[in-house]
Symmetry: C2
Subunit: 220 residues, 2 copies
């Protein structure tokens, strides 16, 4: 399958840290699939606004929905520009110098126009994508949305064509003089996201077990 | 100590999910102290841009620095408006209905003007604050910045006066009918960030042990 390369425009071409820039579209997809939330930014009255929200990806379309976006999302429904970031922090990079301290991370920044999804079938599909990203298995397990709930939910689609992806991994990049002088410890402290033990709702009838799509949810 | 209440303006007053809004300034501070990265948004050429970056907090000032911000940060140096979000995801909320699925989270969104920190002493202090947030103990342990490195680093200060804070915790908020019908499992799957085992740089001399500020870094 031929994939559109990343960074087709000036603004989505990484300007700093070019050695960390990635142009493989599958890396963009993997970052979006591994993240849980995105940060969605818009311009409102000339001012920047950024809000965290859930999302889902289907192919080269990112979906966000209205229960999280508030003011920013309502404005975006008119079809204005958005910028969306998904960032995964994999570790802290301790260098021999303060200057070369860093993080290991995977980052995707998407520039696009948020388009409202209004066709009922398309909206239903988008909500399934968003739900399965947040809670895999829940679309099948939980009660599906009713007409009233569908009407209360706004869904926006953002095309993933224009995106900047950066990845940093590995040890610190210290100056040779600092390495030779052995001025300090250097290395990486990895950071992991792990699921805790599921906490069942107290209103459940006695004896209801945690279903496998929750208890065996994959590692992050 | 008297603290300025949060949300003194319309745009930083939470419009949606008001029951999750928090107006205690100490909660803002705690969220910023618990986070590792922020998402900094600006307006460039009329378009929104959001980028992830490290930061540090001292009192009611948030500091970000230039090694991470690239284009967005250079523009902000001219004194333009920024919006900064720090978001901590504490768990996935599985409801009986798809509609009431949610996340438990703590979120801070700061609206402000990014002001360049140019006074040498103030800039030095800001870099210490940023470094100690990223890697507590490193300012003392690692080689401090030299004149050239200081010149290469831009630091911005953002006042924390205008901020919106939201916190969600606890079980799902399902409809009574769904609770009574027992349509699905419901509860919370907690999400934790944990440190892995430190990985020493291969260029270190043999026998250098991981120092306590790394090996005993506090839980997140």
């Amino acid at each position: 399958m031929t994939q559109t390369p990343l960074s087709p425009t000036d603004r989505s071409t990484v300007q700093r840290g070019k050695k960390r820039a990635v142009t493989d579209r599958s890396v963009l997809h993997a970052i979006l699939d591994d993240g849980l939330i995105c940060h969605l930014s818009t311009v409102i009255g000339g001012s920047p606004v950024v809000l965290p929200t859930g999302y889902g990806r289907d192919g080269d379309t990112l979906y966000v929905h209205g229960s999280t976006g508030a003011l920013s999302l309502r404005t975006a429904s008119a079809g204005i520009e958005v910028c969306v970031a998904v960032t995964l922090v994999d570790g802290i990079v301790y260098a021999r110098s303060v200057f070369h301290h860093s993080m290991n991370y995977r980052s995707a920044v998407v520039h696009g126009t948020a388009v409202p999804v209004t066709d009922p079938d398309a909206k239903w599909h988008a909500l399934e994508v968003i739900t399965e990203h947040l809670a895999p298995g829940s679309w099948e397990h939980a009660r599906e949305p009713n007409t009233k709930e569908m009407a209360q939910t706004a869904v926006l689609a953002i095309d993933l064509t224009e995106a900047a992806v950066k990845v940093r991994s590995g040890p610190p990049g210290d100056d040779d003089a600092d390495v030779e002088a052995g001025v300090a410890w250097a290395g990486v402290l990895p950071l992991h996201q792990v699921w805790g033990e599921p906490v069942s709702c107290e209103l459940l009838p006695e004896g209801v077990e945690v279903p496998p799509h929750v208890s065996k949810r994959g590692v992050r």
